[in-house]
């Protein structure tokens, strides 16, 4: 399959230069590739929240559920529980998953449900035109914090590590090869996979130059080690300083998953009618 086959007629409304284009292109390439490797495209379901990031499902000619703000994960979880053969991929924003829907993110990781979440982490509310989010650096001057935000940012990969996610990585929208590699790994990973993508928002928080200067790819790290993952993840706390920002795969382990516990399929030839009748007898 040619990645171009996965395009739709929807008019793309992202700002020119938006990092979301890289995410779209990388995922499209990965899905097209996987289609040829025994992961047929009709088995893929994309779930998005609401925000600039979420528009991605309109741009991909793939099964999708365009959900509401913050609510990708419960939808995705149920789709996976309903049909474990489906590959379920969530696209979410930093406002979407870390603010509005944080509870679901914590629980998806805790359950280690076999789905993927791509966090379009532009560290700003894009679609509502520029407010601070949980990953904006302290002092961020957004529309709701004109004097600069007073809060320290949250470190999403660290949170995911603590909550039980079994694949944790970080990409950057100006590094499409790495992005593609991480997406592929995340989608193929069995368990909850989380990719924090530093996504440049050219309109409200253009970190292009800073990221270009500060990011580097970690190599040769022991991805099976919680301690090492934690050390690498903690080396950058989403502050605005000069600290270097690690990219790449931080953590990947194998652990029991919720979807495995739900495999108990429906009894074959379930005759609801007579079974309920029998049950009613017990109430006499």
């Amino acid at each position: 399959m040619n990645p171009k086959d996965l395009a739709t007629y929807a008019k793309n409304t992202w700002c020119p230069g938006c990092g979301n284009f890289s995410i779209l292109n990388a995922m499209r390439a990965v899905l097209a590739e996987l289609d040829g490797e025994g992961y047929p495209i009709e088995n893929v379901v994309l779930v998005s929240g609401i925000g600039c990031h979420a528009k991605i499902v309109d741009y991909l000619n793939v099964n999708s559920f365009y959900s509401i703000h913050g609510r990708t994960l419960p939808v995705a979880t149920a789709i996976k529980l309903a049909n474990p053969d489906l590959k379920v991929i969530c696209f979410s924003g930093d406002g979407d998953s870390l603010s509005e829907g944080l509870d679901h993110l914590v629980f998806a990781a805790k359950r280690n449900i076999d789905i993927t979440l791509i966090l379009h982490d532009n560290r700003v509310f894009g679609l509502t035109t520029g407010q601070y989010t949980p990953t904006s650096p302290k002092g961020f001057k957004g529309k709701s914090t004109p004097q600069g935000s007073d809060e320290l940012p949250m470190n999403p990969p660290e949170l995911m590590l603590a909550c039980g996610a079994t694949y944790i990585a970080r990409g950057y929208t100006h590094g499409i090869d790495l992005l593609q590699r991480l997406f592929r790994e995340a989608v193929l990973h069995k368990g909850f996979s989380f990719v924090d993508v530093l996504q440049v928002c050219v309109s409200y928080f253009n970190m292009y130059e800073a990221y270009n200067k500060r990011t580097y790819e970690v190599k040769g790290n022991d991805t099976g080690s919680f301690k090492e993952a934690q050390r690498i993840i903690r080396s950058w706390n989403y502050d605005g300083g000069e600290t270097l920002i690690p990219l790449g795969k931080f953590y990947e382990i194998d652990a029991p998953r919720l979807d495995q516990a739900f495999l108990g399929a429906r009894p074959k030839d379930l005759d609801r009618h007579s079974k309920v009748k029998m049950l009613l007898e017990n109430f006499i």
Partner: protein
């Protein structure tokens, strides 16, 4: 021979008062009575005062009367709090080791429960079995009936339970002489179950594949029961992080082709409303059980109300069709839950089962109106390109579930085109809105074949009681006593205007009976030009007893 027999059993939380009441109900059920049991308990786990009132009658019943025939007291409080209910012919059975019966004028019978349990080396939970043994003797219920009920329903420690019960039975003989009553044997025994259990079975029969809920009284027993039935029916039962996840998960299941239901009470339903609106827009079928309790806010968690009618009718931003039914007892719950599931899937909308503490947690004889079977929703025929939201005459687009080779299935919360791609086009915006409303009209037509409004009592009376939900039973009975008509509105959306107006032909005076303070059904029918002349409202968390309603009717009808 008694036609109507009320038993109250009371004790502290932890005494197993609910289960004891259920056993009493089963005893009478075996004897051919119809059952209603109301269970009253405060929101605490140990202590406090719990009581069950079991009414057994030759006719179907759905309400209690104030006077009781037998008071079974496991503690002193029970005697003090309920002795006002005793008539001259009533009698009291009590735990002689814990209750002083000095103040009781009526015939009474103490059972040395503590002593018996000690002799038999039985656990404290068996005191119920013991005192119920005594109850049977006193009420003239054959030992064999009690034995059968215990054998069938208390499978643990059978021998010991039977011994303890027998000792209770025998000690009653020695202590008091109350005439035996001989109940009728001419009706077959029906299943006795709570409204929530009936809802579960109704949904399961109509194809339920997943149940998702976060516990909240009085809906929690739905989750308990579903979880227990899960292995038998291959149900996927999920208890996630909160009600927001609940309603979203249900729609994930629906997207993948699994019929899902959720259950909650008012507070949890508040959290679900964004999801309800999503279901309206994205046309995701979902069944939502809302079991009302006294509000606002945390209110009285374990007590009843009918305060959420307009909330449920209007919850969620924007305009979209929905199905709302409010069952009045377990039989309604069993029958209409299946219809709710069918409506959700045939019209791809939210479908509500609006219950309350009384319907949900009370015990009823299940005199089901009929069998509702799963109806097939409109499924895609596999021809051409699939479009999730294609226009049709009925407004209903065919469903398809992933994976479908060569096809793409897109659900969308934004305004979308037929294929499911987001748009802001004004023409499509209006067309899609019209499409959704069209489904509401199609659903209304489909519902014509059902008895969405029911008439009871004196059909020719010029005065009618208007009720919904759990007031059904009390209204039917009061109407019979006063020679009035009773009208139960079962389906509240799409509103059965024509059927209600038909039921109202010849009625000059309409009296709304509701468990809220603003007469919500009266307000609703008012939108259709129907005037209610009087309102009888109760909003103290407790259901109307027959006496309450009769007294109010006496006042109103003056």
């Amino acid at each position: 021979m008694m036609d109507d027999f009320s038993t109250l059993i009371g004790g502290i939380a932890g005494d197993g008062i609910n289960e004891a009441g259920v056993t009493v109900a089963r005893l009478f059920n075996r004897l051919g009575f119809r059952i209603f049991m109301y269970y009253d308990y405060p929101s605490l786990i140990r202590g406090g005062h719990n009581f069950s009132v079991v009414r057994a009658s030759k006719q179907n019943v759905g309400a209690c009367v104030d006077q009781i025939d037998v008071l079974i007291a496991l503690n002193q409080d029970t005697v003090e709090m309920h002795k006002w209910r005793l008539g001259d012919g009533s009698f009291v059975i009590y735990d002689a080791d814990r209750v002083k019966a000095d103040g009781i004028k009526q015939r009474s019978c103490g059972i040395p429960v503590t002593q018996i349990l000690k002799d038999e080396g039985a656990l404290p939970v068996m005191k119920n079995t013991c005192i119920l043994g005594g109850f049977c003797r006193v009420a003239g219920i054959e030992w064999s009936v009690l034995k059968d009920v215990l054998l069938k329903h208390i499978p643990k420690k059978v021998e010991q339970n039977l011994r303890v019960a027998r000792r209770g039975y025998d000690s009653a003989v020695e202590l008091c002489r109350v005439e035996r009553s001989t109940p009728s044997q001419d009706q077959v025994a029906l299943p006795v179950m709570t409204g929530n259990q009936a809802i579960c079975l109704g949904l399961i029969k109509a194809g339920l594949g997943a149940y998702v809920a976060y516990p909240m009284t009085p809906s929690s027993s739905l989750l308990d029961f579903m979880a227990r039935l899960a292995p038998d029916f291959g149900l996927k039962v999920v208890h996630p992080e909160n009600e927001i996840a609940v309603i979203l998960m249900a729609q994930g299941f629906a997207y993948a082709g699994i019929k899902a239901a959720v259950g909650t009470s008012g507070g949890g339903f508040c959290l679900m409303t964004e999801g309800v609106s999503l279901a309206g827009m994205a046309e995701n079928p979902v069944v939502i059980v809302v079991s009302q309790r006294t509000g606002p806010s945390t209110g009285l968690p374990t007590y009843t109300a009918q305060g959420d009618l307009h909330f449920v009718l209007n919850a969620g931003q924007g305009e979209f069709p929905r199905f709302v039914v409010s069952p009045g007892d377990a039989a309604d719950a069993y029958y209409w839950s299946g219809i709710a599931m069918n409506m959700a899937w045939k019209y791809q909308t939210p479908a509500f089962i609006l219950s309350d503490k009384v319907t949900s947690e009370s015990l009823y004889s299940l005199d089901a109106a009929g069998d509702v079977l799963e109806e097939e929703p409109s499924l895609w025929d596999g021809q051409g390109r699939y479009s999730r939201y294609s226009h049709t005459k009925t407004g209903v687009s065919a469903l398809a579930f992933p994976p479908q080779k060569g096809q793409v299935i897109k659900a969308d919360s934004y305004v979308h085109d037929e294929f499911g791609i987001t748009t802001e086009d004004p023409k499509i915006t209006k067309e899609m809105n019209d499409k959704r409303l069209k489904k509401g009209r199609s659903m209304a037509e489909d519902l014509d074949r059902y008895e969405t409004v029911k008439v009871f009592g004196e059909e020719t009376s010029k005065t009618a009681l208007l009720c919904w939900g759990s007031n059904k039973g009390v209204c039917i009975e009061a109407a019979r006593k006063f020679g009035l008509k009773a009208i139960q509105v079962l389906v509240l959306s799409p509103f059965p205007e024509a059927k209600l107006k038909h039921a109202l032909e010849g009625v000059h005076r309409l009296i709304a009976v509701e468990c809220n303070s603003t007469a919500q059904l009266a307000r609703l029918v008012g939108l259709y030009g129907i005037k209610t002349h009087d309102w009888i409202l109760k909003y103290d968390g407790r259901p109307f007893s027959l006496d309450d309603l009769q007294a109010n009717l006496g006042r109103v009808l003056g």
